[in-house]
Amino acid sequence: MGTWREGQKIGDTQHIATPEPRKSRFAGRRWIIAGVGTLVLANLLAIGAYANSRFAPDNEGEPGLQDAVPAAVRDGGPVVDTRTGRVASHQVPDRTIVLTFDDGPDPLWTPQVLDVLHKHGVPATFFVLGSQTSRHPEFVDRMVREGHEVGVHTFTHPDLAGMDGWRQRLEISQTRSAIAYAAGVTTPLLRLPYSSGVDSLDNKHWSVVQGAGGQNMVSVFDDTDSRDWARPGVDQIVRSSTPPDGRGAVVLLHDAGGDRSQTVAALDTFIPQMRQRGYRFTTVEGAFGDQAPGLAAGKASRADQIRGGLLVWAVKVADGTNRLLWFLLLLVGALTLIRTLVLFGFALRHARRRRARTWSWGAEVHEPVTVIVPAYNERRTIAAAVRTLATGNHPGIEVLVIDDESDDGTAEEVEALGLPNVRVVRVPGGGKASALNAGIALARHDLLVMVDADTVVTPDAIHKLVQPFADPRVGAVAGNVKVGNRRRLIGLWQHIEYVIGFNLDRRLYDTLRCMPTIPGALGGFRRQAVHEAGGLSRATLAEDTDLTMAIHRAGWRVVYEETAVARTEAPDTLGQLWRQRYRWSYGTMQAMWRHRRAVVEHGASGRFGRRGLPFIALFSVVLPLFAPVLDILAVYGLFFLDRVEALVAWLVVMVIQAVTAILAFRLDREPLRPLWTLPLQQLVYRQMMYLVLVHAAATALTGGLLKWQHLRRSGEVAAEA
């Protein structure tokens, strides 16, 4: 005796015919890979958050104490050089304009600014942000190629005055590296974020200027502020930018950070107007090079370029990851919303139709039924299960227990009951599918009911379950299975899941005629339908799902009868639950893959393949597989975004879950008390289900052999029966 597969004996007695896989050397490393993957994702999210730091546009605040700022600087020119340790301030020569643009590059406005400058043949100085340079290095390259000058405006536009020294150095060095990668040049020019003229320089910012000098940077302020960030109109920008009395000026403008159409239009007016007044346009180096040597851009070293390349690509990949996650969030959100609305609509309609007085499957079915109970080492639960089945009020119930070579006295336990309508058949250990096939072959009647050995039924369950067979098109019926052991938290969570699954999902599937699974715990079948479906296969680990799909493809209707109620024993530890769901997920994927040809077939098979399979794949595999994005972005939001917004978004999701659960409980007339565990379920149970699905998908991809384990029975449900 034993279990055979592919012509080979693969094991002795087992509950299900799958061999024990070898202990994989890879098993322990899975967690390492998962850990490293999580670490990489966390890094990318952190880099993305850093590069996406929000900042306010430039504005004028009141300066602080200014007593430490030398008077020569406060009353001097806009270029302050502290590189040599000595303070030097330089004025713009008369009738000279230095156009400076902050906050870019921007993919929309920077090219327009460059076009206007090119049209008038005017050079300018662009103080770029490192983060923006990382995203659009091509515009920085264009600036340098067209003869413009590039300076540093920090990486993320923070107010450097409030930061530690290392952070200030990091902001400047990162931006220089990004420029080095983008344009192959290194620059000594710096403009501090939120700075304006030197007269507003206070003590805190003065220390930043001195620190920048230590990094060989020259700080550039402005003489005239166009105030274009406030979008005051083209004429006002021109007026604000114009220096008085033929004096020279460093003009502050912006090529990013908002709508810059007024800036572009103002430039087109400002340049010819100032030229008419005898002004010349130049860069910072062009205006101050004679007074302050070493302002020209130099060639970037290879090391700087490599460092910049790493940074630029890190930002690009982080941005891409961020975009992907947000896209997935939208997709998951939209699918969840659609599914919830569809569930509500269809479930309510289904319930209303079934509860109508006029509803009937047809003439009452009294045909005898064979109830097949496959059992392997179920001594603790089998007696209660068989007793509730055999004493049901349907006329002519035959209970056929198929003992799959149990060694705990399961068969003897049944025989000891001495019930006249119960037969025990001992078969060689071949697994659940083989046992059920044997039961089908030995059944005396044409209506079959398959029930798990850990499940007890209500007295009228079998009678109600077979009523849909009044319709000759119905080939299989799903019963309403509930979790019987609800004393522990894990049982309550599964109870909630079962009630939602059976009262909303199954009603929806019933309406759409794409029921993916007749539960092994309680399902009714027409023998002819099972035969046409080819019986139960051992090719998948979800033989119930596989059989249900095959029955669909054979052209039979598969329906849900919510009044046929059974209570089953659910796993009572997280480890057992993990193993059960891992098998279910893997088995469902196997069954879908096995029936994939239905998509291109004609007739009933094609109808199921094109309507049911994509629906099942979308909502049973794809949506749960991507659903973790909800939790990832909730955590991301708590750390890097507005915490209140993130919390509200997460609470909205929970409210949707709660409303869904309440509806399901009301439809099933279940007390709402267990729903107090719902918030906790969203924090532990849901995430565990994600991981199980990912685990199953990984096993399917790698071709690993899934291990079947016989779940430990507590006998709690049987004891209460």
């Binding site: 150095r169 790493l310 940074l311 890190a314 090719a539 399917a700 790698t702």
Partner: protein, 90 residues
């Protein structure tokens, strides 16, 4: 009614004209039917073949090593990135 030839047809095969005699050399010579290489037994699909399972383990090994390589590359790049930042501000 035309004459009907009943019996063995004549053949040019020289060997068949020879009278049977014991072999004179150590090497056994003769004719044997050629093996039928054109026909092969049909291998029926195994209904118990587990779906997705790759018993050779080749697919899993390839995917695993690809994952290792990608993760290692990403880890090295991340380490380089962080080190290059720390080196400048340190």
């Amino acid at each position: 009614m035309p004459d009907r030839f009943v019996g063995r047809a004549r053949t040019d095969d020289a060997i068949r004209h020879d009278a049977p005699r014991p072999t004179t050399s150590g090497t056994v010579r003769g004719r044997a039917d050629k093996p039928d290489v054109a026909t092969q037994a049909i291998r029926l699909p195994d209904a118990t073949q587990a779906i997705f399972v790759d018993r050779s383990g080749r697919r899993g090994r390839r995917l695993r090593w690809t994952a290792y390589a990608v993760l290692l590359l990403v880890l090295v790049l991340l380490a380089l990135l962080w080190l290059s930042q720390v080196a400048v501000v340190g």
